[in-house]
Structures are given as structure tokens and as C-alpha cells.
């Protein structure tokens, strides 16, 4: 069976070791985690995880069911029509032309967010695939460091 990519959001009780329960489930049953993002949901006792994973349809179905089976899991959302974003921070040497990089950044809804002695930092928030394109596009400026986040997603 062909592997598909899926974004799954999980709403869990915000309690000790809940994250290990989730990651143990994935490693124990041999599921993939491409990326994982967690943060508390404001003014509630819950946290929200966004997991990007891949597998056959049967595996994806098992992932959602097994997640549901964990006692502190409230809700599992398998996204089909969602707005997805991830974020990247890139540090460039100021030997590069800021305006060249700024032009590329703005094509990807990004901007320069910080500049210091000999460097500046760009921030982009976009879809996963476009992020890959962006990173290709800036390769020729020899970025000094790249930090990429996991995905967050919100069903339309």
C-alpha cells in the first residue's frame, strides 16, 4: 500500500508525561513522525499537538485509533482540508545583499526580523512544500544556520 502524508491534531490533557505517551506510541508501534509541535491551549487544561506523519491508509487509521485509546487524549483530528503553516528562521552573514534576500523573503510571506553585528535573521511562515522551495532559493546565499519548526494546522 502506498504511503500518504497526514497532518493529525491531538488535544490532550496537559499533564505530566503525556508527550511521552504519544511519542512512545509512535516508536513502539513503528509509526513515523515527520514533525511534532506542542503548546498548551490558552485558558484550558488541554494542550494541542500537531503531528505530521506518513504511512499506508491502514497505518493512518491505526494511528488515529491508537491515539484515541490513550486515556488523556480528548480529541484526534485527521486533517483533510486545513490551513497548514510551519516556520523557519535563517541566519545570514551580512556579506550578502540584504535587499536580494528580502525580495525572496517577501515572495514567501517573510521578512528580516533581526540584524546584528555581521549577521541578519529572516523569518518565514508558510506551507511545508513552499518552505522547501524557499530553502532551495536561498541556498546560494550560504545561510549560516537554519531552524525549522514543525507544522501547525487548522481545519477550514
Amino acid at each position: 500500500m502506498e504511503a500518504v502524508r497526514r497532518v493529525i491534531s491531538v488535544v490532550v490533557l496537559n499533564e505530566a508525561s503525556v508527550l511521552s505517551r504519544i511519542t512512545d506510541l509512535f516508536s513502539g508501534r513503528g509509526y513515523n513522525i515527520t514533525s511534532l509541535t506542542v503548546a498548551p491551549i490558552p485558558k484550558s487544561k488541554y494542550s494541542r499537538l500537531t503531528i505530521v506523519t506518513s504511512g499506508s491508509m491502514r497505518v493512518i487509521e491505526q494511528i488515529t485509533k491508537q491515539l484515541h485509546k490513550l486515556i488523556p487524549v480528548l480529541k484526534v483530528i485527521e486533517h483533510c482540508d486545513a490551513v497548514e503553516k510551519e516556520m523557519v528562521l535563517v541566519k545570514f552573514s551580512s556579506d550578502n545583499s540584504i535587499s536580494d534576500i528580502e525580495t525572496i523573503c517577501s515572495a514567501y510571506n517573510g521578512k528580516i526580523v533581526n540584524a546584528g553585528d555581521g549577521f541578519f535573521i529572516a523569518l518565514i511562515a508558510d506551507e511545508s512544500q513552499r518552505m522547501d522551495n524557499f530553502l532551495d532559493a536561498i541556498e546560494r546565499f550560504h545561510p549560516k544556520e537554519i531552524v525549522r519548526s514543525g507544522t501547525v494546522a487548522l481545519e477550514r
Binding site: S20, R21, Q62, K65, I71, L74
Partner: protein, 564 residues
């Protein structure tokens, strides 16, 4: 009421109507043991190993349907208990296992006897807790019992640091459980149930495939009625033995690796498999691409994750089996026509006549299958049967006449050698009226032999029947069949004197070479009603047949194998 954490544990156990705790003390759990000393609401049985404490609690739980309770200390006490937790997890056994932990201030410092217990038990429990404030204890313990016994049952582990057992706090056990994130489905979807019953009505060759869920959900009575009402043949898995009576005309034994030819052929030929609480274990299905090829599948299970996990299901029904089967019967009673399935039933019966489960007697060697049948003849319904793991376990499943649910207590999912004897102790404690028989092997029995002391001390008369083949027989069988008879490290010719061993602990032992000697030994052991070991010398090279070689298709069975 303000009491210590340790007292809270006692109060909670009393509130949960616990009558027996199996355990083993140590530093981190001493406060709780001090409170055990002061109370007389429940008994504590000191096993001689923590693994045995958990298996005993499992035996207790499996035979009674109640939650089993075990208690152990931190570090090595806990790690010794892990096999038991894993065993209970695989077989969905409701347990609450309480462990001591080093004090909060020492957690994370590699303190003496510190181990990350909840980290280890996470993957082999239904749920677990590390209690970090005595205020939480009443809630946690109440939840633990509820989670262990509801939905798909399983073990819950509660780890309590020593200082928490000394902390004084308010104890109120009356607060109702409120678990927003855990709500097992009880009632099945009515539309799905209707569709499933209509599929049964349309089918020509339907087959009940009954699993351990039928026993866990106390649905045996309903399942028996349903089978009878529809006239549809049924197979029951190892975990479901006893759901139907052995002499039920519609029962065609057990499917799978060592199932009967008829059961496996029925599984292969059916056009509608009605799975009631079974989980399509690889030991049952054989080669998946060939499994139930012509069949649509109805799957009733309380655990949604069990459905379509292994095999794509056409009619999924999530719910408690007892409820769902009742609903199915209400609809079926007016639409199902028994006669429709008669030709199918005849062909299944024909399979059974062609190759029934059987063995060949030998004039000078005892056959293990005979021994098991004989126990069945002599004790039948009056015995609860536990087993260890290996050939003797499969022969027991094949040849014992099980007549009620919870009569067979065995380690199915994990296949834990050493399970049988401590489990038989737990079984006897929970059901003292019946004879508790452990059918074991010469390999397995040594894996928890120290429990002779527990049984003798507490006067728990378990009868161990060792089917002694001087081999790790099941592994030897595979070596014979698939490794060109290279019997690597499976020869157990070197053995203790089991009679003297039993005596050394204060029990009674017998060696048996003949049928007459066996009858005499078993009758004597039952009559004397003390802890016994019957060392039955059986044909060393007997194999469990028939067999589906692993990875093979169910309809391709090895029916017999001739040694040499």
C-alpha cells in the same frame, strides 16, 4: 477525615471490595505494608517473587472477573513485576498494581532502588500514574480501578513515592469519577447491528469466530444462545475456550496454528465471518493474504483500535459484546432461518470427520493428550485449569473438555513460561471450592518454582501436573520440523527430583509412568487436598498436531509428522 497516603491506599482497597492482595514488601513501600499489618479487612498473600505476585493477581482476576491487586516495592521489585504487567496487558486482564517509589526529593538522582517505573510500564499497561501529591491519591486509585475494569480491560500501574505515603491529607473516596477524555463505548450502533444481521441472513456459509472478548465481557451465556438460535457453526480461539460447552454440537474447536483441521477449513471457506471479541492474532490467521479469502467480516469489539487492525472489516461494530449480541439476537430472531445453513454445517462436520483432533496411543509410553483427557474425565467441570506455555498448553486447549467460561486460565498473548503456577494460586484463592490444576511443562514449572512455598504456607492446594518430556518441547518441535533436528539447548535431561522438591517445600510429590499410576496420583492429590506435584513421564518426542507452519495458510495444515 485526614489520614496518611499509606492509610489512603488501605481505605481505597476496602472501598473497592478488595479481599486479597498479592505482594512483596521492600523499603519504598514499607509505610503501606505497615498499614496492611494493622488491618484485617483483606488478606495479603506473600508470594516469593514479584513476578508471581502479578501472575497470581492475574489468575485471581481471570477466574473471578474482578480486578486483581498486586503490590511491590521500587527498583528490582518493580522490574521483577514487569513481565506480569506485560502479560496482563496482552491478555486484557484487569489489574491494579501498586509500587513504591523513592521519595520525591530523590527522584531523578539515581537513588538507591530508583528506576523510572512509569517510564517502563507505559508501554505495557492500559494506563499508569506517578502520584506526586497525596491529595491526588483517592482520585487516582478510584480511576485506576475504573480504568482497569471498564472498556477493554487491562492493567493499571500506580507508582507512589515513599514520602507521599507518609503525607497526611483529606481522604474522600465519594467524589464520582470524572474522566472527560475516557468514555468507553458500551452500546453498539443500531444501524450497523441491523446491517450485520442482514448480512448473516443473506450468507450461505457464516461462521462465528469467538475470541477472549466473549469471556471478558461476561457474554458467554448470550453467545451460547445466539449460536443456538442461528444454527451457525462456531470456532473459539484459545482465549475463548469454554465460551461454548465442549459438547455443543455447533462448536468446531479452535482455529489457528494448532487448531483443528475443521476449524481452519471453516475459517478458510466461510463467506461471512462473525467475529465476536477476537483480535485476528497472527497465531490464528496464518498467512494474511490467504485468510478468509471468500468472506465478508463482521467484527464486534469494545476496542475500536482492534477493528481493521489486521484484516479489513466490512461491518465494524464498536461496543460491549454482551449488549451487542443481545441486540443482534432481538433482530435475528425474526429474520434468520436456520435451515439455510444446514448444507454448510454438514460440510463443516464432514471436515471434522475427515481429520478430527486425535493422537496415537502407545502401549508403553504415556501420551500427554491422554493425561489431559483423563483429568477432564476425572474432574471435568470441578476443576479450574491453568497452564504454562509450550506443547502442554496447546494439548490442553485441544483435549480438555471445557464447559464454562473462565475455566481455562492461560497466558495467551505474551506466552509467558512461569505463568501457570502462581496464576493457579490466584485462581484457587478466588474460587476455593473448585480444584485448581496447573498443567505445566518440565521447563516452565522451574520458572516460578519458589511459589511452592507460598502455596504450602498459605494452604493453597494447587495440583501441578508436569507433562514431563525432558525437553523445552515446543521449541524442540520446531527444531525437529524446521531446523533439521538440531536440538540446540532444548534437552532437559538434567532434572531435579520433582518429588523431593515438592517434599522439601512441604508439599507432596508423585512420579507417574502409567495410566494406573496417574489415576492413583491425581485421586490421592485431590483427596489429600494439599499442594502437589505430579511428575508425569510422557513420550518425549510427541508433537503438537495438526500444525500450520508459521507464515503458512490455514488450509495448508501439517496433519501428522512421523519421527524418523
Amino acid at each position: 477525615m485526614k489520614i496518611s497516603g499509606a492509610q489512603m491506599v488501605i481505605e481505597a482497597l476496602i472501598a473497592e471490595n478488595v479481599d486479597t492482595v498479592f505482594g512483596y514488601p521492600g523499603g519504598a513501600i514499607m509505610n503501606i505494608y505497615d498499614e496492611i499489618y494493622k488491618q484485617n479487612s483483606f488478606k495479603h498473600i506473600l508470594t516469593r517473587h514479584e513476578q508471581a505476585a502479578v501472575h497470581a493477581a492475574e489468575g485471581y482476576a481471570k477466574v473471578s472477573g474482578k480486578v486483581g491487586v498486586a503490590m511491590i516495592t521500587s527498583g528490582p521489585g518493580f522490574t521483577n513485576a514487569v513481565t506480569g504487567l506485560a502479560d496482563a496487558y496482552m491478555d486484557s486482564v484487569p489489574l491494579v498494581v501498586i509500587s513504591g517509589q523513592v521519595p520525591m526529593s530523590l527522584i531523578g538522582t539515581d537513588a538507591f532502588q530508583e528506576i523510572d517505573a512509569v517510564g517502563i510500564s507505559r508501554s505495557c499497561t492500559k494506563h499508569n500514574y506517578l502520584v506526586t501529591d497525596a491529595k491526588d491519591l483517592p482520585r487516582v486509585l478510584k480511576e485506576a480501578f475504573y480504568i482497569a475494569s471498564s472498556g477493554r480491560p487491562g492493567p493499571v500501574h500506580v507508582d507512589i513515592p515513599k514520602d507521599i505515603t507518609a503525607q497526611i491529607e483529606v481522604f474522600d473516596y465519594s467524589t464520582p469519577i470524572h474522566l472527560e477524555t475516557y468514555k468507553p463505548t458500551i452500546k453498539g450502533n443500531v444501524r450497523q447491528i441491523k446491517k450485520a444481521v442482514m448480512a448473516i441472513k443473506e450468507a450461505k456459509r457464516p461462521l462465528f469466530y469467538i475470541g477472549g472478548g466473549a469471556i471478558n465481557s461476561n457474554a458467554a451465556q448470550e453467545v451460547r444462545e445466539f449460536v443456538k438460535m442461528t444454527g451457525i457453526p462456531a470456532v473459539e480461539t484459545f482465549m475463548a475456550r469454554g465460551t461454548l460447552r465442549y459438547d455443543d454440537p455447533l462448536l468446531i474447536s479452535m482455529p489457528g496454528m494448532h487448531g483443528s483441521y475443521a476449524a481452519n477449513m471453516a475459517m478458510s471457506e466461510t463467506d461471512l465471518m462473525i467475529s465476536l471479541g477476537a483480535r485476528f492474532d497472527d497465531r490464528v490467521t496464518g498467512k494474511l493474504s490467504e485468510f478468509a479469502k471468500h468472506a465478508k467480516i463482521i467484527h464486534v469489539d469494545v476496542d475500536p483500535a482492534s477493528i481493521s487492525k489486521i484484516v479489513k472489516v466490512d461491518y465494524p461494530i464498536v461496543g460491549d459484546l454482551r449488549h451487542v449480541v443481545k441486540n443482534m439476537m432481538e433482530i435475528a430472531s425474526s429474520v434468520i432461518e436456520k435451515e439455510r445453513y444446514e448444507p454448510w454445517l454438514e460440510s463443516v462436520e464432514h471436515f471434522d470427520k475427515l481429520h478430527p483432533l486425535s493422537y496415537k496411543e502407545d502401549s508403553d509410553k504415556l501420551k500427554p493428550q491422554w493425561v489431559i483427557q483423563r483429568v477432564g474425565e476425572l474432574l471435568g467441570e470441578c476443576a479450574n485449569i491453568t497452564t504454562d506455555v509450550g506443547q502442554h498448553q496447546m494439548w490442553t486447549a485441544q483435549f480438555y473438555p471445557f464447559s464454562r467460561p473462565r475455566q481455562l486460565i492461560s497466558s495467551g498473548g505474551l506466552g509467558t513460561m512461569g505463568f501457570g503456577f502462581p496464576a493457579a494460586i490466584g485462581v484457587k484463592v478466588a474460587d476455593f471450592e473448585r480444584v485448581s490444576i496447573n498443567i505445566t511443562g518440565d521447563g516452565s514449572i522451574l520458572m516460578n518454582i519458589q511459589e511452592l512455598m507460598t502455596a504450602v504456607e498459605k494452604k493453597i492446594p494447587v495440583i501441578n501436573i508436569i507433562l514431563n518430556n525432558n525437553f523445552l518441547g515446543m521449541v524442540r518441535q520446531w527444531q525437529t520440523l524446521f531446523y533439521d533436528k538440531r536440538h540446540s539447548e532444548t534437552d532437559l535431561s538434567m532434572q531435579p527430583d520433582f518429588v523431593m522438591l515438592a517434599k522439601a517445600f512441604g508439599g507432596i510429590g508423585y512420579v507417574v509412568h502409567t495410566k494406573e499410576e496417574f489415576d492413583a496420583a491425581l485421586n490421592d492429590a485431590v483427596e489429600k487436598n494439599i499442594v502437589a506435584m505430579i511428575d508425569v513421564r510422557i513420550d518425549r518426542f510427541e508433537n503438537v498436531m495438526p500444525m500450520v507452519p508459521s507464515g503458512g495458510s490455514l488450509f495448508n495444515m501439517m496433519l501428522e509428522y512421523k519421527e524418523k
